[in-house]
Each structure stands twice: as structure tokens, then as C-alpha cells.
Amino acid sequence: MEEILLSLLQPIKEVAQTFSYILLFGFVFICLEWFIPSSKRLFKLLFMLIVCIYCLEPAIRALEMIQAMTSELVTLFLGIYPILTLGIAASGGAFLITSWNPAVMLFASFTTVLAGKILIPAIMAAFIFDLISRIHPPTSFSKMSDLIRLTLIGSTSIILLLYSIFMSVNGVITWSVSGTVNETVKRLIQNNIPFVGSLLTESISTMKNFSSSASVITGNAVILSVLMLVSIPTIQTILIAFLYRLLGAILEPFVDGNISGLLDDIGKTLFVLSIISVLIAFTFFFTIILTMLFAKLLISGKG
């Protein structure tokens, strides 16, 4: 638990440190501009470069984390699924295996590859376009980065919709939370997480449906623990994105509009990354549940 908390608090620490650095440098640059007013443009450029050096670090790390997770998951999929499926069938679960839609497995591996090869590089491209637009405003790629973000949200929503279709085929709803509470939580997430809020609630609903069907096999407590574990990268990314937007909002009156705009853009892009990380979490969750199912079948077969 402590490790989970530490991993969640680490980005807050980093972004708070970045905030203090930007304030410090902002003050230094205000003094310098007052001291040598003829070099205002040069100082503005240097400030942007310094912001890039210190500010992009947590964002790039979040991206690299999701990228690493995706590539590991692709390897895992390629290696483990044929063995798992064979194992389930061999341990007498041939009847049970029919309840697992094989298309889900194929689809899960396809989305992981898609996330690793197209979605995350596209996020990186959006990052780079934002950076260029803010460092050199005459060469603005802001529409391009907005387009990338919108396309990514669109494609992720389609993938999640397909997931929900696959899952509802097998889903047996046994969710214990009442509908009213559920709806309130949904509205809360939708209203408070910009851009991807509604998409996130939909993905949570899909995961909930899937976990309801899986909990018949594994039990609620295990499902909850696995859900918590797989959602850490997503929560972490959302947290970093929120902090970036907060940083941009706080710094807006003190620093140049381009700098607060850059921080805001990084926040927006990280929100999109968080929804992509939901896809990864989904696949990860699916893998764990399948492994547990295999273990359970193996034990019951021996017994």
C-alpha cells in the first residue's frame, strides 16, 4: 500500500518542484528584463528553453512509462496467450473456455499493438507540435496538435465501444453499488475531468461489466485488488495532467501567455494519454484474470 501511495505521490512532488522552479526562474527573468530591457526577446526565448528543460520531465516520464508498459504487454500477449488458452483447454475447462469470446483476446492484443505503434507516437507528435507552436508562435501547429488529440479521443472511444460490445456478450451484472450512486460518480467524473471525462466513465462501465462476469470465477476482493493495481498508471497520468493544468492556471498572471499555454497544452495531451492508458489497463486486467482462471482450473483439475 505504501508503495502504491509513493508511486501516486511521486508525480505530485515532481510537478510541485517544477512549479517552484518556474516561479523562481520567472522572478529571475522579470528582474533581468527590467535590468536589460533591450534583450527582452532573447530572455523570453531563454525562459521558454528553461521551462522546456525542467517542465517536460514529468510529462515525458509519464509517456515513457505508458510506452514501456505497452511494449511489455505486447510481448506478454504474444508469449502467454497461446499457452494460456491451451492450458485452460487441457485442464478440463473446454466448456468454460467457450464462454470466453476469442474475439476479445484478439481484440485486446490488437488494441495493445495499436496503442504502442500508433496512439502513443501520435501523442508524442502532439507534444512536439505544441512545443514548436509555443517556442516559435509564427510557426504554429496548434490546429494540428488539436486534431491529433481529437482523433485519438475518437479512436479510443471507438475501441472502448467495441470492448463494451464484446464484454456485454458475456457480462453477468452483479455490481453491488446502487444505480443512483453509480450515476452520481459518473457525473462527477464526467464534469471534473476535462476532454476525456465521459470517455473515462464509459470505460469504467465496460470494465465494471467485465469484472462482474469475471468475479463469478475469482471473487470480488481479488477483482477489486487487480482493478486497483491496473488503474495506478491511469490515475498517475490523470494526476500529472491535472497538476500541469493547475500550474498553467496559477502561472498565467505572472508569466508569458505562451508558457502558461504550453503547460495547459501538456495537460490536455496527458489527459488523452490517460485515456489510452485505460486501454492498456483493460488489456492488463484481462491478462491477469485469464491467468487466474488458468491457475484455478489447474488446481481444480488436480483436486
Binding site: 529571475v28 533581468l32 533591450s38 534583450s39 531563454l46 528553453l49 528543460i53 515525458i60 502513443i120
Partner: protein
């Protein structure tokens, strides 16, 4: 306060030189400017900076040093450029400005190597 008095005294003395020996006024003025700059750097800027640099966090120190170097260079270049312009050496002033900009660019690019290495590695991931 010492600096104000020095500047006022220098102004009076330079005016005196201008009236008595107008031919050597420009050379005296130029020598004075360079001597005064040396005095400011050795007596004021360097001791103050070395006194307060320990306050800056260790991971920000390289950037702060670079920033300080850039500001000092800009300040020097601006004064020398104005000196050249006073004597109508416009081309020399432009050359001086150009050299300062080139030095600043090279120094900052060298410092940013780590950043653009990361940037290029991200570009590499796109392919």
C-alpha cells in the same frame, strides 16, 4: 554609493579633459570605461555572486551559472557596442553584437544537448 560618486567624479574629470585636452578626451574616456567595468566586476559582481550562489539548489546551479554568464556578456556587449556607436564605428558595433549572439547561441546549445537528445529520441520513437 561609491559607484555613484565614482561616476560623478569621472564625469567632472572627463569634462575637464574635454575642455583642456580635447584630442585625448576620447582615449581617456575609453580607458576609463574599461577600467570602471573591471572595477565593477572584481569588486562588486564576482564577490556578491560567489556569496549568494550557495543559496541556489544544486540541480539549478548549471542553468543559473549559464544565465549569469549570458547576462554579464549581454551587459558588457551592450556597453561596448554603445561605445563603438558613440565614435560612429557602426560596423564594429554590429560585429560585436553578432559575436555576442553567436557565443550565447553556442553556449546554450551545448547546455541543451541533454534536452535535444531526449527530443530526438522521442522523434526516433515516432518512426
Amino acid at each position: 554609493m561609491v559607484i555613484y560618486i565614482t561616476i560623478i567624479l569621472a564625469f567632472v574629470l572627463l569634462q575637464l579633459v574635454k575642455e583642456t585636452y580635447p584630442r585625448i578626451h576620447s582615449i581617456v574616456y575609453t580607458i576609463y570605461i574599461f577600467l570602471f567595468l573591471t572595477y565593477i566586476f572584481t569588486v562588486l559582481i564576482i564577490p556578491y555572486v560567489s556569496q549568494y550562489i550557495s543559496v541556489i539548489p544544486a540541480n539549478l546551479l548549471p542553468v543559473f551559472k549559464l544565465l549569469l554568464f549570458s547576462v554579464v556578456l549581454l551587459f558588457l556587449s551592450q556597453i561596448i557596442e554603445e561605445l563603438f556607436l558613440d565614435y560612429e564605428y557602426t560596423s564594429l558595433a554590429s560585429l560585436f553584437t553578432f559575436t555576442t549572439k553567436a557565443i550565447l547561441l553556442i553556449v546554450w546549445l551545448n547546455h541543451m544537448q541533454q534536452f535535444y537528445d531526449k527530443f530526438l529520441s522521442i522523434l526516433g520513437l515516432l518512426s
